[in-house]
Every structure is written in C-alpha cells, then in structure tokens.
Amino acid sequence: MTDDVIAERARHDRLLAAWRDPQGLWGFLTTVDHKRIAARYVVTTMFLLFLAGMLALDMRLQLSAPDVHRMTPQLYDESFALHGSTMLFLVSVPVMEAMAIWLVPLMLGQRNLAFPRLAAFSYWLYLGGVLMLWVPHLLDVTPDLGWFEYPPLSGPAYSPGHRADVWAQMITFTEVAALAASVNIVATILKLRPPGMTLAKMPLFLWAMLVASLMTIFGLPAVMLATSMLISDRLVSTNFFSPAGGGDVLLFQHIWWFFGHPEVYIIFIPAVGFVSSIVETFSRRPIFGHAAMVLSMLAIGVLAFGLWVHHMFAVGLPRLGNDFYTAASLTIALPAGVQIFCWIATMVGGRPRLSVPMLWVVGFVVTFVIGGLSGVMTASAPLDLQLTDTYFVVAHFHYVLVGGAIFPLLGAFCYWFPKATGRLMSKRLGATAFVLIFGGFNIGFFPMHILGLWGMPRRIYTYGPEMGWGALNLLATVGAAISIAGGIVFVVDAWRSFRSGQPAGDDPWGGSTLEWASTSPPPPFNFDYTPAIDSLTPMWTGELVAYDGLGIDKRELLVTSVADAEPLYRQNSVGPSIWPLIASLGVAVLFVGSIFTPWAIVWGAIPVAIALTFWFWPTRDRATTGPFRKRSS
C-alpha cells in the first residue's frame, strides 16, 4: 500500500518534470500550457470588458439629458466605435474561445490541446489586435465609425487618415487569432476524446464549443475579406465599394453581415454550453433532452448563415427576398425555444439549488428571452423598417449579447473559478454582484426599447429637449451606473477569493463532467491517468475507469477515432517554444506595415517564414513507455 503511494508520487513527479514550464519570464513567454494561455485570454478580456464598460458609462452620461455638451461629437463617435469594436472583437468572441481553451482538454481528460503552440500563437496575435486598437487610441488615431464601418463613409474619400485602417487591421489580427483557436478546438474535440466518449456521449459544453468553432471557421473569413477589401480600397484604390469606380457599397454590407450574423451565435452558442453545464450540475440530474439540445445547436449553426439580410431590410432589396429572410430568421426561434425549454425542464425534473452560478442562469433566461422575442420583432421585414437603427435595436442586441452571453459567462466564471484557483468565491458578494448587474442592466436597457419606439435613432451624440427622450435616458444612465457598481463588486469578490478564499477541494459542486476529476487547480498535465467514460455524466455514474500507458517522462496525448473515440495511437505533444511569439511578432509587423504600404506584405512575409520554419522544425523522439491499457488496480 505504501509502496503504491510512493510509486504514484514518483510517477506524479516524473509527469510534472515532463510537463512543467521553465521558470520565470522565459516560461511566461514560451508556455504552451492551455490553462495558462486561457487564463491570459480571460484576464485580458476582463480588463477590456472593464474599459468598454467605462466607455459605455461615459456615453450614458452624455445622453443622460438633452443637449449635454460634455463630449464633442467626434469624441462620442470614437467612444461608441471603441466600445462596440472592443466588445465584439476583443471581448465576446475571444473570451468564449478562452473558456474552451481552458476547459476542453480538462473535460476530455486530456493533457493538452491538439496544437499547443497554435494556442500560444493565437493569444499573442489576439494581444496584437488589442494593442492595434488601444495603442492608436492613446495616440488619438481612434476609429470613429462604429463597429461596422460602412463604406463609403469609411472609404478613402470620407475617412482620410488612418482611423479606419487601424480598425480594419485590428479585425484582421483578432480574426486570425480566432481562426487559430477554433481550428485547435475542433481538432481537440474531434480527435482527443477519452475512450468511451462517442459523439453520442459528448457533453453539451463540448458540442457547443465544437459548433461555435466550426461557425467561426466558416464565418470569419468573410469579415477578413470585407476589411481586406476595404483596406485595398483605401491603400491602392481597388474601388470594390466605390460606386464612382464601378464598385458597390452594398457588397460590403452583404459580406459583413454574412459574418456578422453568425458572429452573434458564435458568441451565444458557447453560452449554451455554460448554461447546460451549470443547470445540469445544480439540478442534480442529466440535462433534459440531450439529443434535442444538440440538434438545436446544429440547427442554429446552419440557419445562422442564411439570414444575414435581416440586417439590411432597409437598403431597398426586393421585398419578396426580404420575406425569405424574415422566414429564415423566425425559424431560428424554434431551436432557441427548445433549448430554453430543455434547461427549465431540467430544473423542473430535477432537484435544483440556487447557488450563485444558477442565479446567473435564471438572470440569463429572464433577460435573453426578451432579447430573443425582440429579435423576432426585428426579424419581420416590414416592422424592422421602423425598428432598425433605433434604440429598440440597441436594447435588443444588448439583451441578446449581455443577457445571452455575458450573464452565462459570469455564471461560468463563478462555476469554474474553484477548479481554476482551488478557492471558493463568496456567496454573499456573488449574489450582491448578481442583483446589481442584473437589476442595473434591466433598468438601463429596458427603457431603450421604448425610446426606440419613441423615435430615437442610434448613434446620435445628443438630442433636443423637445423630443421628450430625457427622462428615460436618465433612467438608462442610472441603470448603467448600478450595473457597473455590480461589476466592481464582482471583480472585488474574484480578487479576494483568489487571494484568500476558502479552499474548494476538487469537486465543490458535485459536478458531472470530467474536469472535476482533476485536482483544483489542475497540475500542468491535468490528469495522472487517462479516464475512460461510459455515460454523459461520468462523475455521477460510479468509479472512473482509468487508462495507463501514455508517456510519463515525455509529453504525449491519446488520439482516438472521431465518431466512437476508440483509442488509435499516442501522439507526441510539443513542449514550450518561443517561436509562436516570434511568429506573431512577424505577423504583427506585416499587418501594421500594410496600413502604410502594400510592400509590407512582401517584406513582412520573410520573418514570418523564418519563424514558422523553426516552429515546425521536425524532432524525432519516440515513445518510451509500454502499451496503452486499462489500469489493473
């Protein structure tokens, strides 16, 4: 018995030696540990969420009464451009990928992602995108045309200078980063599942991340196309979007929204995964309607690519065509309605407990369903002509994105915080933060529906007292301030708990999926042995079967078959490397330089090629341990 313990400890130490990062700064720069990379992503996005919230509060103060002059129109335009671009490109999408990068290997019982260096590369490029937007802001080259910069306003004739270029290249950075992360997540979910986790026994969280990542792979090239064409128009006068040169300004809108609508679901579908995990654990039963949920996500993933025109009902396309997109947009309410039903049914048919993550789920349902229903209204082509580009739409998409994605994200943060840090968050502060954020949000955004119906357009920096919009705008500002106070409580709670929270233990909630089988926080290699599963809720159905045979003195992963997760072979997993960072620096030089001269693409390719050559330099070590087998003990 003691011999066994000693042997286990020795094994653990050898694994640690194989998977540990180098010490200090070098370790920080070279790490390929998915948990460290994801933590960076999460911290960066949370900081940007704070900045974007401050911008929002600033704009709310400007709009709190008629004819306020604290901001110039230019400053107001910069604020909403920065707020929207930050939230859509630098917070919502990356934070969902970060959650996947952190959780997917753990939920698969694996030691790392399929392409660890690609994950590091993805973060560095994402950070490049962050700097691309916010460093020019410090230099007063802030984009000032919103989060979708329609030409010709963003074209060379109406936007001289580099504000629009900064915006377009920020998107290129973040989208390359998002593609890198998504490819990684898809490959990991399809090829690194534990023995027994067939597609039919795959938890909803993994399905959500799979669908969202596939959508990213199909959708994001469109936005890169749109912004690259815009940059070409601005840099070398390609005239894609200039009517005088034979181009078409609507072309931009089509390509943009072909990405832009799926984008909403790329943000929302991961939230489906969070909510499903939380509801399952706190309702103490497997989620109701697993197959219906999976089919709903797949249906949304497909339908989302067929309804982009509902962002363009007012541009004067043929009315029969508009009706088609109305029908397609309404259809998506069916899978969304099924999902909502399944979550509530899980509570009704289970033994639910209202812990803090569950509060966020309740807030999500109450808020997101309003956003979904106002989405049904805007999906109707003739009614949308009255609603689009008004504050009704501002209310709608904040209900969808904040209610539908940020609330579940905050719930997920509270839910997995003990696993990531080994400490519990405070229940009282957690509930206080929830009440303030949820209440403030609804006080802030619900009146905007009415303002929109009272004729208040979007993106106006002020309005006259005769319009009668003052009182509700003041209410909205008060709500925003309450919400931000709640955000501060949330951050204080997270920081205090991180420093001195109660020890959490490995599985404080009695969770259902494999990440709870690891220690809290997990070691660099996540699991001593490879778990095998035979149900959707492996942590609830008796003892886990563990497999042995993966390398102990070197980094190895278990590759399994796509559909049935049959063990196929052991794969070497790469260790720490500086080359992803150097490669992303090269790419950054290329992207930033191309704002100024097209030659940057030629010269910038050289350092990128060098970095990639070293990155992929082949190594020839082979496995040294015995065959893969079920553990006998």
Binding site: I344, V366, L383, L472
Partner: protein, 334 residues
C-alpha cells in the same frame, strides 16, 4: 386590433413629443406597421409569460435547498416533460406562422402602394441636410427646397432617394419605416399620409459627426394648401423691403454665401448647400436643429461650427452688422 388606446396608454407616449414615433401612425404605411407591432407584442408577450411561468415552476422546486448538494438523480422520469416539449414546439411553430403570415401581408401592402402614386418628390441626402425637389406643375421645372417636406393628404407620394455622399436613411416614423439612401442606388419609398399636421423625420443611418442633427420637418396639408405652397415655392425670391434687408441681400449674394447657396432671382447660384429662396417660410433651420427665428438665423450665420460642430457650413467672417442684415434678409424670404 382594437387595442390601440390600450397600447398607447401603456407606452404612454409619456414624455414623447408624438411627432416622431411609429406609435402614432398617420399614414397607411406606418399604420400597417403599427398593427404588425401590436400583433407581435401580443404573441411575444404570451410566449414570454409561458416561459416565465415555467421558470417559476422550476424555481419553486429549488425552494429551501441551500445546504449540500443532494445525490444526483440519474434516471429521472421525463415522460410528461417530453410530451410538454412537443406541445411547446407546436405552440412556438404556430406563433411563428402567425407572425410570418402577418409580416408577409404587411410587406405586400407596402409593395402594393406603388400602384396609385401620383406625386414624385426627389430627396437627396447630404452630410447633414436634405435637398428636396418638386416638379412645378405650371412650368414643369424642378423646384428646390431643403429640410422641409410637404405632402398632400390622402395622396400617395413617391419619394425618390439619392445620396450626394455617404449612406443615410430616410425616416419619418409617423408616416412610414426607413429607406436607406445609398450612393449608386436608386431607392424609393411611397408615403400615403391620412392626417394633417406637422411631423418630424431624421436620418437613421450613421453618416458622420453631425448625424444627430440631420432632421427634417414634414407637413401634411390639404391638396389646396399643398398646391398653393408649391406655387409659392416656385416663385423667385422676394425683393428686399428695407435698407437692412437690401444690405443683407448684398451680403448673401456677393459674399461667400453665394458660393454654396442659391437664392433664385439673384446672383447667388451655389449648389453645395440648401436653396435659400424661401428659407423664411420654413419651420426650422440647420436640418431641424433650430427653430426659424431671426435670432437663430443670426447665431447660425455667425457660429455654425459652435452649433453643429462638423457641419459643412464654414465660419464666415462677417461684421456683426452684416450678419444681422443677412439674417434680416433671409427671414424676409417667405
């Protein structure tokens, strides 16, 4: 569909001016959109109550459970919930069919209005104002005005939309939904107003720093009043009636003003800015930014960039006396 008073009371039009809202429709187009909105609110309201009711049942199950996690329920009996899911899916499908049908009918009615249009009006959007041109029935020539649209009641007017620069959106919520104004595209929108009065429109697509101040006034009037108004607009500018106005005319037609503005019947024939021939007859100035008063005219001439930072109207150095005279002259251009 008889619930109009109820909904109006609910949303109260509380602080709202009522001149720029889809909730007080005065035309066929806005009327059908308003009815569709009511249908939507009913159907979506019922759906929301169903979801929240179900959620309350779920929360009721959670009451009193704060202690440690109970053991998981591995094989729950879900037959009733499965049947309920089928019912719920059917309810959602029926609701969506109702909404899709209603939406289709309204879309069709908007398209059909084209059949009986009898008046064509050209509206050209500029950063940050609206050029509006009518065909004078007497001479057959186009007569220009700016930022003020006059419509005869109970006739369908077809607004032909063009842009001089970037994308804008034409929106008079009491009369109809939006139509974007897109460079390189010939868009049009039909308006069939049924009630007399002043209404307000505003650009609804972000078009630059002064997007917020790109409004216009809409007057729906009787056929006779409309004809009289159009005949008056077709006439050249009134001659100055006193010395100050004469000085003002001198300033407007000889100084920089004439580079951009037209005053028909004078030497001012600029085309970049609004036609000023009958500016004194208009409800407001600077695209709905200020009401039409002598003082506002004076302020606008002296300090356009202070009132509307980023407007294309430059600050022109005029002596206070000249600015006063110009304002007096422009006010007299009824």
């Amino acid at each position: 569909m008889r619930s109009r008073p109820a909904i109006a009371a609910t949303l109260a039009l509380g602080g709202c001016s009522g001149a720029q809202t889809p909730l007080a429709p005065v035309a066929d187009q806005a009327g059908s959109q308003y009815h569709l909105l009511l249908l939507m609110l009913w159907v979506c309201g019922v759906m929301y109550l169903l979801v929240i009711g179900f959620l309350i049942i779920g929360l009721w199950r959670a009451r009193g459970r704060h202690a440690a996690a109970p053991p998981p329920l591995l094989e729950p009996a879900d037959d009733r919930l499965r049947r309920l899911l089928a019912v719920w899916a059917a309810v959602v499908v029926i609701g969506l069919l109702v909404l899709a049908g209603g939406s289709f009918l309204v879309e069709r009615s908007l398209a059909l209005a084209q059949a009986n249009e009898s008046l064509r009006i050209r509206v050209t959007a500029h950063q940050y104002w609206w050029r509006i041109a009518y065909r004078d029935p007497a001479s057959g020539r186009w007569v220009e005005t700016a930022n003020e649209l006059h419509l005869p009641v109970a006739r369908t007017a077809r607004i032909e939309l063009g842009s001089a620069d970037v994308i804008h959106s034409f929106w008079v919520p009491n009369i109809s939904g939006k139509m974007d104004v897109i460079p390189g595209r010939a868009n049009a929108i039909d308006l069939t107003p049924r009630r007399l009065g002043w209404f307000r429109g505003q650009c609804a697509e972000f078009c630059g720093p002064q997007h917020a101040h790109m409004g216009f006034d809409v007057k729906v009037e009787t056929s006779a009043a409309f004809d009289a108004w159009l005949a008056a607009q077709a006439r050249p500018a009134a001659a100055p009636r006193d010395a100050e106005q004469a000085r003002g005319m001198e300033v407007v037609t000889r100084e920089q003003c004439a580079m951009c503005h037209t005053v028909r019947g004078t030497a001012a024939i600029g085309r970049n800015g609004p036609d000023l021939t009958h500016i004194g007859s208009r409800h407001s100035i600077a695209a709905g930014t200020l009401t039409m008063t002598r003082a506002h005219l004076q302020g606008w001439i002296a300090q356009p960039q202070a009132i509307k930072p980023g407007t294309m109207m430059p600050t022109v150095t005029l002596s206070p006396a000249d600015a006063n005279a110009a304002a007096a002259y422009l006010e007299s251009l009824k």
